[in-house]
Symmetry: C2
Subunit: 112 residues, 2 copies
DNA sequence: TTTGTATAATCGCTTAAACGAATATAAGTA
DNA sequence: TACTTATATTCGTTTAAGCGATTATACAAA
């Protein structure tokens, strides 16, 4: 992250906060985000790239999937507080985590 | 603050972060901010109002002056971490504090 | 090679927000 | 009442970002 301000701009959008909240659980691919948040593919992709450009995420390609995970270093540990002390007290973000859990279970069952 | 996102939007601008950094020291009027940051009156006023609308500041009128101070409650304690762990390690914000100190000293001396 | 799936990029449009410059308001002082 | 000072607001312009819809790319599997 070049600038602290860039990280804060990346955090000042609800969709991106919701994505970040999910990624605090585990690495996910774009389609996991789409399903858990019930948003379009273009929207998920755009916001993930925005977060990556702010150096808050890294990505890893495997076959046709792109997996995103947190890339939050020491310099911006206030984000931990934001997520654990604020986001996770709000219904919207709690629901998102439950939706993610449900989706990942369904996804696994389809492969068995 | 209605929405966490509104607070984050308010924090995602360098001028507003610089203002917040100063107000972590003490209550200040608009002209103190102008002097310490060397910005125009209109710019100082606009950004202070933006922060106030996000419920991060309160104001208090006394004669022709308007004093602004922090209004950050429990819900957004991550801002403490942002200021103390991040901003205050950066030269720009350290310089601003020194400029504020110098300005307040000059201001006091003029009244003696 | 064709088809399907996952992801990214582009287009056109709309809105928020930043800026300097100028003007308005409101209170204090001469 | 005039004048000054402190602060807020408005105007016109510019830029960043958000969106849905669509198209492009890249890999996999048939």
């Amino acid at each position: 992250m070049e600038k602290l301000v860039d990280a804060l701009k990346a955090l000042s959008d609800e969709t991106r906060l919701r994505i970040l909240n999910l990624l605090y659980e585990k690495e996910l691919c774009v389609c996991d985000i789409m399903e858990a948040l019930q948003i379009s593919q273009a929207k998920a992709s755009r916001h993930l790239i925005y977060l990556k450009n702010a150096d808050l995420l890294r990505d890893r390609k495997h076959a046709q999937w792109v997996y995103y995970s947190l890339a939050i270093d020491e310099r911006i540990k206030f984000i931990d507080s934001l997520v654990y002390d604020n986001l996770r007290n709000l219904e919207l973000y709690k629901n998102d985590l439950q939706n993610l859990k449900d989706w990942l279970k369904r996804k696994t069952m389809n492969c068995e």
